[in-house]
């Protein structure tokens, strides 16, 4: 099973949250909203393409809409392999952080 990079983890989390609404723009917006990172669409698709190659996500085209200049959106769906990988990564992190969380500096939103 492929090890996930941290950007990839962010993406997969987005898919988890967004469900059916997970297409490019929404993913971008969510990441920006929740982490403050501004990523270009190109970067997102590049990473998602790689995840798709490894079977962690799958994509399908939605319906074209006027605000998109008549272009169809590309939606992504989290696949079981992806869900597995994301869970592992999360559990690993948690295992390492357990007990020493208070030594981390507060996140920008808190404190």
């Amino acid at each position: 099973m492929k090890r996930l990079g941290e950007f990839e983890q962010l993406l997969l989390f987005s898919l988890l949250r967004l469900g059916d609404d997970a297409y490019g723009r929404r993913i971008r917006g969510l990441i920006q909203e929740r982490t403050g990172r501004e990523v270009s669409p190109g970067a997102i698709y590049t990473a998602l393409d790689r995840l798709e190659e490894h079977g962690m996500v799958s994509s399908y085209l939605g319906d074209a809409t006027p605000p998109r200049g008549g272009r169809r959106p590309r939606h992504y769906r989290l696949e079981p392999a992806g869900r597995e990988a994301l869970s592992s990564a999360w559990h690993e992190m948690r295992a390492m952080a357990e007990g020493v969380e208070d030594r981390l500096s507060p996140s920008p939103g808190e404190g």
Binding site: R25, P41, D49, P67, G69, R71, R72
Partner: protein, 882 residues
């Protein structure tokens, strides 16, 4: 047109993304961006910042995809260039059509191609000349910083006098702006290997010579200071080519010995590939002049140096001028100065003027050709009004028609350019093999990329600028006004012809003047007879014959042996013969000299008995050189007329005494008695005046190198063979070479002038032909226009002569206008030629009158042809013709 969508994101960036990325990616990315742009970014940030955001996002997306190797999957050519198929099809259609049209009018097409070909051809040749000789840098590192230093005087600051060893050393010590400074002296050296001997061009150099020229030896090193002094170790540096050919590139040759001029020399270095300064040197050895015997007044060296970092030419000149003044004071050398000449200037300075003149001339030819081409294309344009009208009716838009005309012109340009290139290639080859031509850097003249590009560019520009524009305009105008035959149009053509004639006049006058110059040069009496005289060279090396008296004997015996050969009328030897480039100078003390200023330095020539007779140089008074003039006898000297005049005025020179200095390489300072006066000979060629010259008998001097002049009927090869036999019978090993017929040297003298004149003449001839064609076409056009009128006149009884005169007038008036204007332009233009002329003034009446007459004649003839043709036609025919 749809209303502008104010909310749409920047289109250009969207297009860029579409171009560069996969369609699927582009759709997804652009869709996202547009959606966000419209819904969030534009409302929140306003148009300007929204656009900036969009741009940034688009760019970053492209970069991400490229980074992944997934972008730049350039869409297949057909997607990007959707009309490619159609464009290609149209192009080939236009091409085929053009070729067909041109084929159907062979006269028209050939004329244009030929005119264009010749014009671009001669332009390319001249450009090749200018490029190879003037423009391309010399093949040395940073060659524009190399300068040559010469001895000069306050009254002749531009003189280029050779340098003496002590002065050379002084300059080295005193100068801070030119560094390093090195000396060199071209020579020929005799190299032996066992029984094999060959004479090679070489040079004697000081230390730091290679450094100065930026030519660091690829193996070993250059000559050191210790090796560049008399009595120092004998070292030699080989040229790359010589190392390859003689030693087969053996890397162990450095450190080994070779025999030069009878003595062993150690090879200390190999020069870089292609380096052969000066004059094709293959060996370099250390300078051996001994300042003790050849002091400050004994001039021999050529000096070269490199401008220090950041030093300008002006700064160097100023410093060396000051050094000259200081040395004048320190060494009591009155008027001593230093002349600094850039190396490039030295090599090509003399020909720069004439080459620029030629370039201007050939450009005029191009202009004239363009005028003709323009004329032809315009006329053609008018003829095709029918065809063009039909095309327009069939729906071909203006751009299509224009495209077709341009294609046609492109074909003509291509063909003309190709012809020009062939012409140029032949011309350049011919240039390089011209007999006796010693044009500087002639080897560098070739048909290379820059020349080819130049030729094609000239052809294309000529056609496009002068052809397509006017012809398209003419076609359009004709489409609108088919009936109106505007006489104002023809005035434009007449003006064109007048210009052609004017330019031709300038070229013709130039050619006439140069032609007269060549004739004048030829007619100058050089003072000696070169016909039937062969030149050998003989050196007697120190190593072979150490004693001076013996060396003198060798020459005497050799000459005696030669004179006994059948077929030899007379022989004589000389060191410093006319046109030999061997010139030794000495200061002279004339007994009884009363003038305050000492007499100018005199050229010292060494001759043997028989020399004056062999070259047919008459003795004006006194006696010829005698075998009894020996080292132990009375020191004698002969002087030329110029010297006799300068030193003794109108009185007889015989019996007077002069003192020539030992610094001229003579055995010692001695008073010499004048025993004969010789007629002047032109040592420096027909252009330069004859200075005072003195002749010393060889037996009283003993130089170890002489040119041997042999008046004989033998072939050169036979002569050399026989001469070798004479030499071997004397039991002496000495390098003997055949230099060739003396006639060749004379021919070389004017070879350059002849070349320029030929080229100029060629250009003038081309120009004149084109101008004649121009006149012809104008008259023919006029005649065609007025056919009916002429027919009526003839029918009403006008004589053929009257009508002819009327038509002639039409053709001649633009020619006359052109002639007058041309003469005016030529009057100021020839001033640039002034420095090249000889024996005639720029106002030489024969040239001017001749040109004018020739031109009028040609113009009249060109006008006559169509005139006579029309007049001979049956008037009834002409009237019926519509």
């Amino acid at each position: 047109m749809s209303p502008v969508d104010r909310e749409a994101p920047p289109r250009r960036w969207a297009k860029l993304v579409e171009r560069l990325l996969d369609p699927a990616d582009a759709e997804a990315i652009l869709g996202d961006l547009e959606e966000e742009y419209r819904e969030v970014v534009l409302p929140e940030r306003g148009p300007a910042r929204a656009r900036r955001w969009y741009r940034g996002m688009a760019l970053k997306s492209i970069v991400s995809r490229v980074g992944r190797g997934r972008a730049l999957r350039l869409r297949p050519l057909s997607a990007v260039w959707p009309n490619r198929g159609r464009t290609m099809e149209r192009l080939s259609q236009d091409l085929r059509f053009s070729l067909r049209m041109l084929w159907r009018r062979p006269g028209f097409s050939l004329t244009i191609v030929a005119t264009l070909g010749v014009a671009t051809g001669v332009n390319a040749i001249t450009f090749a000349l200018v490029d190879g000789v003037l423009i391309e840098p010399l093949p040395y590192a940073e060659s524009d910083r190399l300068v040559t230093l010469w001895q000069a005087s306050a009254e002749s600051p531009d003189a280029r006098g050779a340098v003496s060893v002590p002065n050379f050393h002084d300059w080295r010590e005193r100068s801070a702006t030119v560094e390093p400074i090195a000396s060199y002296r071209a020579a020929t050296l005799w190299v032996t290997e066992g029984d094999d001997a060959e004479v090679l061009p070489a040079a004697l150099v000081s230390d730091r010579f290679f450094e100065a020229l930026g030519a660091h030896p690829v193996r070993g090193r250059g000559i050191t200071a210790d090796e560049a002094r008399p009595g120092g170790p004998d070292a030699v540096v080989l040229s790359h080519g010589y190392w390859r050919s003689r030693f087969a590139g053996d890397i162990d040759v450095v450190g080994s010995a070779m025999e030069i001029d009878g003595s062993p020399y150690t090879v200390v270095g190999i020069a870089p590939e292609g380096f052969d300064f000066p004059d094709g040197a293959r060996l370099w050895i250390g300078e051996v002049i001994d300042p003790a015997t050849c002091g400050r007044g004994c001039v021999n060296l050529d000096v070269i140096g490199r401008l220090g970092p950041g030093v300008t030419m002006e700064e160097a000149r100023a410093e060396l001028d000051a050094i000259g003044v200081a040395m004048e004071r320190d060494y009591a050398m009155e008027g001593f100065r230093v002349n600094v000449v850039g190396l490039k200037e030295l090599v090509v300075g003399d020909v720069r003027t004439i080459l620029v003149v030629l370039l201007a001339a050939v450009f005029m030819v191009l202009l004239i050709a363009c005028a003709n081409i323009a004329n032809l294309l315009i006329a053609r344009g008018r003829e095709r009004t029918d065809e063009l009208a039909i095309r327009a009716a069939l729906g071909a838009g203006r751009p299509r028609v224009a495209a077709q005309l341009i294609t046609e012109s492109a074909v003509l340009a291509g063909a003309g350019g190709a012809v020009g290139v062939v012409f140029a290639w032949l011309g350049v080859r011919r240039l390089r093999t011209v007999h006796g031509l010693e044009l500087p850097r002639i080897d560098n003249v070739s048909l290379d990329a820059s020349v080819l590009i130049f030729a094609m560019a000239a052809a294309t520009t000529a056609v496009l600028l002068f052809g397509v524009g006017p012809s398209v305009m003419a076609a359009r105008r004709s489409l609108r006004s088919r009936i109106r035959r505007d006489p104002a149009r023809s005035r434009g053509r007449s003006l064109l012809v007048a210009t052609q004639v004017g330019l031709s006049v300038v070229l013709l006058v130039g050619t006439a003047l140069m032609g007269r110059t060549v004739i004048e040069l030829r007619s100058v009496d050089l003072g000696f007879e070169a016909e039937g005289v062969q030149v050998l060279t003989l050196s007697v090396p120190d190593g072979e014959v150490p004693e001076r008296e013996e060396a003198i004997r060798v020459y005497e015996d050799f000459l005696a042996g030669l004179s006994e050969l059948p077929g030899v009328a007379s022989v004589g030897g000389a060191f410093g013969a006319p046109l030999s480039n061997i010139n030794v100078f000495s200061s002279v003390d004339v007994e009884g000299w009363t003038d305050g200023e000492p007499p100018a330095n005199v050229g010292v020539r060494t001759i043997t008995p028989g020399y004056l007779e062999t070259l047919d140089i008459p003795l004006l008074s006194g006696r010829p050189v005698d075998p009894t003039d020996q080292l132990d006898g009375l020191p004698v000297v002969w002087v030329n007329q110029a010297a006799a005049e300068a030193w003794f005025g109108g009185e007889s020179a015989l019996g007077r005494v002069v003192d020539l200095s030992a610094s001229a390489g003579l055995p010692e300072d001695r008073d010499r008695t004048v025993v004969g006066v010789v007629t002047d000979t032109r040592f420096y060629g027909p252009r330069r005046p004859v200075p005072p010259e003195a002749y010393i008998p060889h037996a009283q001097n003993g130089v170890r190198f002489m040119e041997i002049f042999v008046a004989s009927s033998m072939s050169p090869a036979t002569l050399l063979e026989e001469a070798r036999r004479v030499l071997s019978r004397l039991g002496v090993r000495a390098p003997l070479r055949l230099d060739g017929p003396l006639d060749d040297r004379v021919a070389t003298v004017e070879a350059e002038e002849r070349l320029w004149t030929s080229l100029l003449g060629l250009f003038a001839a081309i120009a004149l032909s084109l101008a004649a064609l121009g006149v012809f076409s104008v008259v023919a056009y006029q005649v065609a226009l007025r056919q009916k009128e002429i027919g009526v006149r003839i029918a009403l009884g006008a004589s053929g002569a009257t009508v002819t005169r009327m038509i002639l007038g039409q053709g001649l008036w633009p020619a006359i206008v052109g002639l007058v204007v041309g003469l005016a332009i030529a009057a100021s233009a020839v001033r640039t030629l002034e420095s090249q002329l000889f024996g005639i003034a720029p106002s030489d009446p024969a040239s001017w009158v001749g040109t004018a007459l020739l031109l009028l004649l040609v113009a009249a003839a060109a006008s006559l042809v169509p005139a006579l043709r029309t007049v001979r036609l049956d008037p009834a025919e002409t009237l019926r013709h519509e």
